[in-house]
């Protein structure tokens, strides 16, 4: 029964990631603020990591990262590696040291999304293109804050899903 609940939950997470990826990629759906749009998959995998074990968190981090890689013309596996590692450690930190609540989700989101966006700027922009300062202040920083805005909503969605499907004995 417990494994069946986990299976249902994981299938729901996969569906959620696919829907959020479709939403973030659809032209004109999410309104652009300062010319940037949110990366909805980032808060999704981070909040899933807060609710699941570290191995499952790693798997969902990799899956979400691969989706990001697929949407962007670049190195396949860049986001998968970063998000896989981040989700693994987020899961461990929340299990061992922190309470699982909205404030923690915001804190983890701030940290993990910040690291991801910072590494995107460093590896996907700084070493390849001109005017990195302008790109950071006009694209990456607004994208970070805009993506962070969705963390509470996606965390509540994932927590509701977890509570609805989790076995009461667990």
């Amino acid at each position: 029964m417990r494994s069946f609940d986990r299976l249902v939950r994981f299938l729901a997470y996969i569906l959620e990631l696919l829907i959020l990826f479709t939403l973030q990629e659809t032209p004109g759906l999410t309104p652009a603020i300062f010319g940037v749009r949110p990366v909805l998959v980032l808060p999704a995998v981070i909040t899933i990591a807060m609710l699941e074990g570290e191995v499952a968190a790693l798997a969902f981090g990799v899956a979400g990262g691969l989706l990001c890689d697929f949407g962007l013309s670049g190195v396949l596996g860049f986001h998968a590696l970063i998000l896989g590692l981040l989700c693994f450690f987020v899961s461990l930190i929340v299990q061992l040291y922190m309470q699982n609540n909205l404030l923690t989700a915001l804190l983890m989101g701030f940290m993990a999304i910040g690291i991801t966006v910072g590494l995107q700027w460093l590896f996907l922009y700084y070493f390849q293109y001109s005017d990195p300062g302008h790109a950071f202040t006009h694209h990456y920083l607004p994208k970070f804050f805009y993506t962070l805005l969705f963390t509470p909503l996606i965390y509540l969605l994932n927590r509701g899903l977890y509570q609805a499907v989790a076995n009461p004995e667990t």
Partner: protein, 298 residues
């Protein structure tokens, strides 16, 4: 299931749906959004047809004189009829869109019959792409390959940077990765068109390597020169907005307004083949491959 419907997660789901509906309404009212235009485009005729059918039926029948069973039967008939009309409307919209694409393709092909085109629709724009790249619904199965130029009915749009089986990623002209050999139509001065992050947000391009005493003026039209055989010759790129001095040397550069709205383009054409395509590349391969040079050239 019933517990789930009463749970907090379901409430969160409802809130999310409401937020997304708000988002859709926002994009519909703000204008210019792809989904908003598409929804309005499809729902308006459907509502018109439904309203007309309902009005005609209401005029024909005295509804007050019908029994409850007759009313239910009538409603069911109308619902069935409505479903059929919606299906027909969806097919009509698809056919209409395809017709528009083919008409545009025919127009472009008749202008330049030597180019082989594949029509495609923009299906995604990744928020991680600083330079507004996008993905299209055609891939290698349709003959699309990395390096193929992408155009619209208004001019050059970009180049295919990755090709999968059924989809491809396109780097648009706003990207620093895309460099196009270009020439001014009037003065015949040549340069390289590329993007930059500061200009990309405004949807503008940069024509670099103009001489210090350039004669290029605002309003001049810029087209591809065909040098290097990466792009066909004489494809419209845009119009000069202003000419400025380069930051690094004595040369000047022109800021160009592209002929196409690169940040919101929806339908494009991939030039999968054109005269002279890849000839320069083949010659380079010959020079760098001492073992099998002649084979490569063939």
């Amino acid at each position: 299931m019933r517990d789930f419907l009463k749970s907090s997660s379901f409430k969160v789901l409802i809130i999310t749906v409401v937020v997304l509906l708000g988002l859709i309404l926002y994009t519909a009212t703000a204008g210019g959004s792809f989904l908003g235009s598409l929804l309005g485009f499809s729902s308006a005729p459907m509502q018109g047809v439904t309203a007309a059918v309902t009005e005609n039926v209401t005029e024909f029948l005295d509804l007050d004189g019908l029994s409850k069973g007759q009313m239910r039967s009538l409603v069911n008939d109308l619902l069935d009829r409505n479903a059929q009309l919606e299906q027909q409307l969806a097919e009509f919209e698809n056919t209409k869109q395809e017709n528009e694409q083919l008409k545009t393709q025919l127009s472009i092909t008749s202008q330049r019959p030597e180019n082989q085109l594949v029509s495609a629709s923009v299906i995604g724009r990744d928020p991680n792409d600083v330079f507004y790249g996008f993905s299209i619904d055609k891939g290698t199965l349709e003959g699309v390959a990395v390096g193929d130029p992408v155009i619209s009915s208004r001019g050059l749009v970009g180049v295919v940077s990755q090709a999968y089986a059924t989809t491809s990623l396109v780097s648009c002209l706003l990207s620093e990765d895309v460099k196009v050999a270009a020439v001014c139509v009037d003065t015949r001065e040549s340069g390289t068109v590329t993007g930059s992050v500061s200009l990309a947000a405004s949807g503008l391009l940069r024509l670099s390597y103009l001489s210090g005493n350039t004669q290029v003026q605002p309003g001049e039209v810029i087209v591809t020169s065909g040098a290097g055989n990466a792009y066909p010759k004489d494809i419209l790129i845009g119009e000069v907005q202003r000419v400025e001095k380069s930051e690094n040397d004595a040369s000047r550069y022109a800021v160009i307004r592209p002929s196409e709205d690169l940040q919101h383009i929806r339908d494009v054409f991939v030039i999968v083949d054109f005269p002279g395509k890849g000839e320069e590349t083949a010659r380079i391969e010959v020079n760098t491959d001492p073992g099998g040079g002649e084979d490569t050239e063939q």
